[in-house]
Symmetry: C2
């Protein structure tokens, strides 16, 4: 290719895209493919306002990431994800590994191109899913043998394979292959599990050779035990990764216990790196998490309850499928600016849900995701304007406290 650039140079055989060159420049500057720029730290809480730089765009933090398990945020298009305001989504290694297979997605040019999404993607490692299979899986030091939930076939995931799969997917953020200990579990189990997670993390790090375009996040485990969380954090931080997640929470423990664990775990993580709390998406837990210093969240909650006919609003949940909505010709939430609330009544959406029409699932999904994007935007504004605790109070009181 022969290019004539705007400033008069002749460039022969562009070796890589403009973005790749920017990235390489960043590497020279010592920055990883994904890194956090902290804009402000709250004076009264641990909350931070920031920008997460990724090869597929800059994302304002704290951020909620919609879940697109099988390479699609259920029911909606990439354009709709953008209109909702999301710049990063999560997709699942376990599901894509089994179907359609990572080699097919590699052949398609990676997951971004396969699903036509040019925003950022974080992929989990499949660890959580295979450990959730219970009797269908067998843990070894080398990895986990399990049976596919689709066809019962025997499958194997290891730190190396999970990382290679994510390399084929081409996600911006690659999660370490970890063990998420169940709740409750003994100190002994949690200790074994976190130590295996650390050993596995080293293997993930050795496997990932695409650090110019992909960033590996380690995961702090250790159950609900402070000493184990300290041990885990200290072990994984030693590997100097571009980001850190807190795993093993939101697994059935009381919320107060989750907040307690966050209270002592988040401060163990390096200030300058992004912090991701896995599997959390209820409005109250998002606010509490942000106040404890978390930058990133994901959860299937908003999309899953949407498809069950439950809308999230700032004034609490609305069970749109209930009879109360039958003659309600107003929107789900008059204060909401989403496509659904701008164009459709509760009565119509209820009809769609009762009649099992797919458009109902779409409209509900769009609304719930937009609600969480609005919540996160308001949280960021509150941090910026030094009024996060007051914002929290208002949210909780508007919602009627029992937030989920």
């Amino acid at each position: 290719m022969l290019f004539k650039s705007g400033i008069g140079f002749i460039v022969l055989e562009m070796p890589c895209s403009f973005y790749e060159r920017v990235l390489k420049k960043k590497e020279v500057n010592g920055l990883a493919a994904v890194h956090l720029e902290i804009l402000k730290e709250d004076s009264r809480t641990r909350a931070r306002l920031g920008k997460l730089h990724t090869p597929h765009g800059v994302i304002e933090t704290p951020v909620f990431m919609p879940v697109g398990t099988q390479g699609t945020v259920k029911t909606i298009t990439p354009e709709e994800i953008k209109e909702i305001g999301a710049g990063i989504i999560l997709s699942n290694t376990y599901h894509l590994f089994l179907r359609p297979g990572h080699e097919l997605i590699r052949e398609a040019g990676g997951l971004h191109r396969f699903m036509n999404w040019d925003g950022a993607i974080l992929t989990d490692s499949g660890g959580f899913q295979v450990f959730s299979l219970g009797d269908l899986r067998k843990i070894k030091e080398s990895g986990v043998e399990f049976r596919s939930h689709i066809d019962g076939s025997l499958q194997f995931l290891s730190p190396e394979i999970a990382t290679q799969v994510q390399m084929a997917l081409g996600s911006d953020i690659v999660m370490a292959f970890d063990e998420c200990a169940p709740y409750p579990c003994t100190h002994e189990y949690a200790k074994d599990s976190l130590e295996r997670t650390t050993r596995w993390l080293k293997r993930c790090k050795e496997t990932l050779t695409t650090t110019d375009t992909q960033a590996l996040f380690g995961i702090v485990q250790g159950g609900m035990y402070e000493d184990l969380r300290r041990q885990s954090a200290s072990e994984i931080i030693e590997l100097d990764l571009p980001g850190y997640a807190i795993g093993g929470l939101s697994v059935g423990e009381p919320k107060d216990l989750m907040y307690e664990v966050l209270d002592y775990t988040v401060p163990l993580l390096p200030r300058e790196k992004p912090r991701y709390l896995m599997g959390v998406g209820s409005p109250d837990a998002l606010i509490e998490g942000v106040m404890r210093g978390v930058d990133m969240f994901d959860c299937v909650l908003p999309t899953r309850i949407a498809r069950n006919g439950t809308a999230m609003t700032r004034y609490g949940k609305v069970i749109v499928r209930n009879a109360g909505s039958a003659h309600d010709f107003g929107p789900i939430d008059p204060s909401c600016d989403c496509y659904t609330c701008r164009n459709y009544s509760r009565a119509y959406i209820r009809h769609l849900i009762k009649a099992e029409e797919i458009l109902g699932l779409r409209l509900m999904t769009i609304h719930n995701l937009r609600y969480l994007q609005t919540l996160m935007r308001e949280i960021r504004e509150a941090i910026k304007e030094d009024r996060l605790p007051e914002y929290r109070q208002k949210c909780f009181s508007d919602y009627g406290y029992e937030f989920d």
Copy 2:
């Protein structure tokens, strides 16, 4: 309200909308709420090029109308229906009568507002559906008693009720409550049935008082018997309605027989009125119908097979869910300009379908409906340019003749 118009008048209490005034003016000119403007008649076939004027827009004919049974074209939004190029859709009285009920839709301000669709709507009368219920219905001269497919409750539809329901829905085109005789059926049954249809039509006409905004179409019945089609056409034309449909076709008879019935039935209908062939949507039958003088068509075929993973293209059907598409990273049809073909590969859509993801159903629906809109546009262009028979030949040969 106090208005100051652009040309200097002060208007106090606008009595009705601009469109309503235009309609009233049209009535003065002797034109119905819905009427056909014929732009051209083909010299070698009976095809006509026209514009169907409705209270919700002008539609180029011949036209294919997507079906939105329950007040939604399955899986897609009104904006998407427009992007596909459709200006008129069909919705079903039977379904909306049972759920959510026409009184609720009246309360919402009519079906257009309820579903947020400002294009034209044709509603069927429910006749076809209740007659399809077999043992679950009982025909009387007054109407049809039937059991709801939703909850088994006893229900009743009559010419009066079906018309009143459609008045509540506010559709632009109101279909007569007819009996669609099965295929095959005896001469005696078909004769009884068409005569009842005529008697019922008179009751529909008496019931419809909203002729300034709604147009009643009568339906020619008479099975596959030429003498009965003549009798039916002659009886219903006497009522001088704004449009006429041909019912009782596409009910299981061979296509050649359908074309034969069209050959002698269409010429019985008044030249200046729109002609609608009910339940036809396969590409070959659309072309054959147009050539026999039909202006309007509807069918669930494109949307239904879309949801089963079958795409319609100018080169024949593509079973996207088949293994052949697994590694095909090109679009369903490279010549198609729909949202789906512009953005997604067969491989991705196949993955979505196999993984039972709703986005797959959406993308397939968009493609199939756009294919038919493109087909109809090309048919109109061919009429305009005096090459419809040649266009037919090319279509059939591209498709591989066996057109459905």
